[in-house]
């Protein structure tokens, strides 16, 4: 386009909305699959395809536009009811969606597109349409035609006046608008002006139908016209001017005799001499050539792109670094900034004219400042929040594909799609979630015959659920499959020395062993009991996000995987604890409870370790004073006093001994890695209100590093904290 519009930015918007459109198509297609022949669903799919086609054509992505056109033709057959949609059709359409997504990703990243794949799919669709590739060739032909027309008109513009005059013809047009033509916003003057741009125009108004004045309705058009147009334009070009009013008028276009001589005769008869003079002097009208020229250059550049590409590597989707924010959220921010400015100017007043009487007002002002700052913080955080639906949306397709391959029948239930998550968390949780779902399909849910034999319904249910619980987001992957074979896992863990021969573990602890790297890679276990492959990676990813994952499973009934994630990565809900003179922060997410230490219940065990007897269980005790080598006196005193913060890590409970509990507050996490070496057990630091720095404990890492140094010194595996 010749205008200096910022096309890159608009292209980006186009890609974004097209990806959304593809999601809509995919969801719709999968719904069709589930036996829902709702016309609303087809319409949604069709509309999405149509928008993509239109946009792609507009922005010059002809490959996408042409391909989508074929897809749209197939969809149209379904929509208009001339075609019963088959399972194969749906598969083909789903593949097309995939292809479009890949192609757009490639174009977005300015990579080559896989033109061959597109061609083959297009042929497949055309074959289904029963016109074997014909569609495709007409498309190409249209473009060729358009291109040649362009060059024709371009050449025309360069013609000299003589030639121009030679091709002139005088047309007579009888134009009788219907009474209501004006009511569609069509002005005859507009039409005349347009005709004038084609050549020279003589207008003669016919007033026979004008009623007497009293009966004249000003909204109606009573006039007719006889128009004489001297032009080189073709009949079609003239008709095009009347395109909009065809339904609202009677039109007669009388073509002159074919030769110029004939034109001259008519000229003499019907047109005044003046007009003729104007024709001769008039410069060539070249308005029409410009726009088409642009189109052509657009086409040719994209075509170059397409032909250049061979079997290009599958494009990698880049993580988009932009966020679409609703106007409401931005407005809310603006409001708050406005309030802040007011508060600031109010406070400034005190700086200028301070007296002790205004102390209360100053206090109020500061309270206000605090409130607005907090709201501002919350609102800014809110901008980073996106609904998890963008992540969940991929699962209908995934479940459809995988269960199809495995010969299983699975119903996918999604709930809580509107739960909002931090954008970064959302992006990073995608792969672990896919892994968990795959696992459930692969190993959890049984084949129909096994299920029937076990007295279960043939179709298994996989339920993905997201919700907010306190300051956390919880995502559940729940299936009604076979569950985990605890005996096998336990045996394997004993075998590997992960669990002592005498140790008795609860089922939950056994189940959570599947996340252990030592067990995860073992095929035998995963084949027999289901889960296991790569689960340590899943856990590590989730841990990196400051979250945790746990599993509950019952043999023959099913499994529930629960992922807990912090609302955001930058801010943590922390419990401030004091130890000696230092303050530490423990994530509230990991704290189970806090108990007063009763000296009788603290037992020293061999190896210098200490356990605490709590409600029949012995849990290991970690003294923060010892770990961080604080004042020795304090540490001695601690043995029998202080508080025990019980945290949960990897399904096990551990007590952290601290001197005192302080506030609970949100803290902003500052990374230590930029300036210091990464420390096991610390996730960062924060600056407290009084300006001091407090370290933030990374509970799972902290517990692991403690346990492995204190208790499992002989354990063969290394933790990855």
């Amino acid at each position: 386009m010749s205008m200096d519009l910022d096309l890159d930015e608009i292209n980006e918007i186009f890609f974004e909305e097209s990806f959304e459109g593809l999601d809509v198509m995919e969801t719709g297609l999968l719904n069709l699959d589930q036996g829902d022949a709702d016309s609303e669903v087809i319409n949604d799919i069709f509309r999405a395809a149509h928008s993509i086609k239109g946009g792609a054509g507009t922005f010059g992505f002809m490959e996408i536009s042409e391909f989508t056109h074929v897809v749209e033709t197939l969809l149209d057959e379904v929509r208009s009811g001339t075609r019963q949609v088959s399972k194969d059709d749906i598969q083909l359409l789903l593949k097309s969606v995939d292809y479009l997504r890949d192609t757009m990703t490639a174009l977005q990243n300015k990579q080559d597109v896989d033109a061959e794949a597109g061609e083959s799919l297009r042929q497949q669709i055309s074959a289904v349409l029963g016109n074997g590739g014909q569609d495709d060739s007409t498309d190409k032909k249209n473009i060729d035609e358009a291109a040649s027309e362009d060059s024709k008109s371009e050449a025309g513009a360069e013609d000299n006046v003589d030639k121009f005059l030679e091709s002139q013809k005088l047309w007579t047009i009888i134009f009788e608008p219907h009474l209501n033509m004006l009511q569609s916003g069509n002005d005859p003057l507009r039409i005349f002006r347009e005709l004038e741009s084609l050549g020279d125009l003589e207008v003669e108004a016919l007033t026979e139908s004008l009623p007497v004045f009293e009966k004249l309705e000003p909204q109606n058009c009573y006039l007719s016209w006889k128009l004489y147009l001297c032009t080189e334009a073709t009949r079609d070009e003239i008709l095009e001017v009347f395109d909009w009013v065809m339904e609202e008028c009677d039109l007669e276009i009388i073509e002159p005799e074919n030769t110029t001589e004939a034109t001259d005769e008519v000229l003499e008869e019907e047109i005044s001499k003046e007009t003729e003079n104007i024709i001769a002097n008039k410069p060539i009208q070249s308005n029409e050539t410009q726009p088409t020229k642009n189109n052509e250059s657009n086409n040719s550049t994209t075509e170059k792109k397409v032909t250049k590409s061979k079997a290009a590597p599958k494009p990698v989707a880049k993580e988009s670094s932009s966020i679409r924010v609703s106007i409401e959220k931005v407005d809310a921010l603006l409001d708050l900034v406005g309030e802040l400015v007011i508060t600031q100017s109010m406070l400034k007043r005190f700086g200028n004219e301070y007296d002790s009487d205004s102390l209360k007002e100053l206090g109020d002002g500061l309270t206000q400042l605090e409130r607005y700052t907090r709201e501002l913080q919350e609102n800014v955080m809110d901008i980073r929040m996106l609904p998890i639906s963008s992540n969940f949306n991929r699962f209908p397709r995934l479940v459809h594909d995988i269960s199809g391959k495995l010969g299983k029948k699975v119903e996918l239930k999604l709930s809580g799609e509107h739960t909002e998550l931090d954008k970064t968390v959302l992006e990073k949780i995608g792969d672990p979630l896919v892994h968990l779902v795959r696992n459930s399909l692969d190993h959890g849910i049984e084949t129909p015959d096994v299920r029937v034999a076990a007295g279960k319904p043939e179709t298994g249910v996989l339920h993905l659920n997201a919700f907010q619980e306190g300051g956390n987001i919880v995502i559940r992957v729940e299936d009604d499959g076979a569950g985990i074979n605890t005996e096998k896992i336990l045996a394997k863990a004993r075998d590997k020395g992960l669990v002592g021969p005498e140790e008795n573990l609860s089922d939950d602890r056994i189940n959570n062993l599947i996340f252990h790297p030592g067990l995860s890679t073992n095929d035998e276990v995963s084949d027999l009991s289901g889960r296991g492959v790569g689960m340590d990676v899943v856990r590590r990813n989730i841990k990196d996000l400051g979250g945790r994952v746990e599993i509950h499973s019952e043999r023959g009934v099913g499994s529930v995987l629960t992922i807990r994630l912090p609302l955001t990565l930058a801010i943590l809900d922390g419990q401030l604890v004091r130890c000696g003179k230092e303050t530490y922060i423990i994530s509230l997410l990991s704290i189970v409870e806090t108990v007063m230490v009763n000296a009788d219940q603290v037992n020293d065990v061999a190896g210098g370790a200490r356990v605490y007897h709590m409600r029949g269980n012995y849990i290991p005790v970690i003294s923060l004073n010892n770990v961080f080598k604080h004042d020795h006196n304090a540490s001695v005193k601690n043995k029998n006093s202080g508080l025990l913060v019980v945290v949960e890590s990897d399904g096990a409970q551990v007590g952290i001994l601290v001197d005192e509990l302080l506030d609970q507050q949100q803290v902003v996490i500052k990374s230590l890695e930029d300036n210091f070496k990464q420390m096991d057990g610390l996730s960062g630091a924060t600056i407290l209100g009084d300006g001091t720095v407090a370290l933030i404990l990374d509970v799972p890492g902290f517990v692991q590093s403690f346990l492995s140094s204190e208790i499992h010194k002989t354990s063969p595996h290394k933790h990855a904290a």
Binding site: M1, M3, L5, G54, T58, G185, W244, E247, E248
Partner: protein, 120 residues
């Protein structure tokens, strides 16, 4: 120079149309769909409406029908900006009172030219 209401459910088209029209010196108000546009139109007049055909909530056809019922929208030019070229669609558009149509692929000069044309 005119005040133009541009209606399209696609953010990219909306942006392209509004940028083009603004570039041409016009005052542009955008709406996401028919419902949005009608809401605006009830309270404010414009010189021209340019609308998409296929939109969720209220499509272009329904929008034009509704707009023509508003006193201050009865005679203004209303154009469809559409990829639809079928005769039926054009007929349907005309039957509810559309002035005309601009067929995509979009071309900024053509849009400005057409707008200039209908601005009596």
């Amino acid at each position: 120079m005119a005040k133009i209401l541009a209606v399209d459910d696609s953010p990219s088209m909306r942006k392209l149309v509004s940028m083009t029209l603004r570039h041409g010196g016009h005052d542009v108000i955008t709406a996401d769909d028919g419902v949005d546009a009608l809401e605006f139109a009830k309270n404010e007049s414009v010189n021209i409406v340019v609308t998409d055909l296929h939109m969720p909530n209220m499509n272009g056809i329904a929008l034009v029908r509704e707009l023509r019922n508003l006193e201050h929208y009865k005679y203004i030019p209303i154009l469809f900006l559409t990829t639809e070229t079928s005769i039926e669609m054009k007929k349907e558009g005309k039957s509810v009172g559309a002035t005309g149509w601009i067929v995509k692929p979009f071309n900024s000069e053509k849009l400005l030219e057409t707008v200039a044309k209908v601005l009596a």
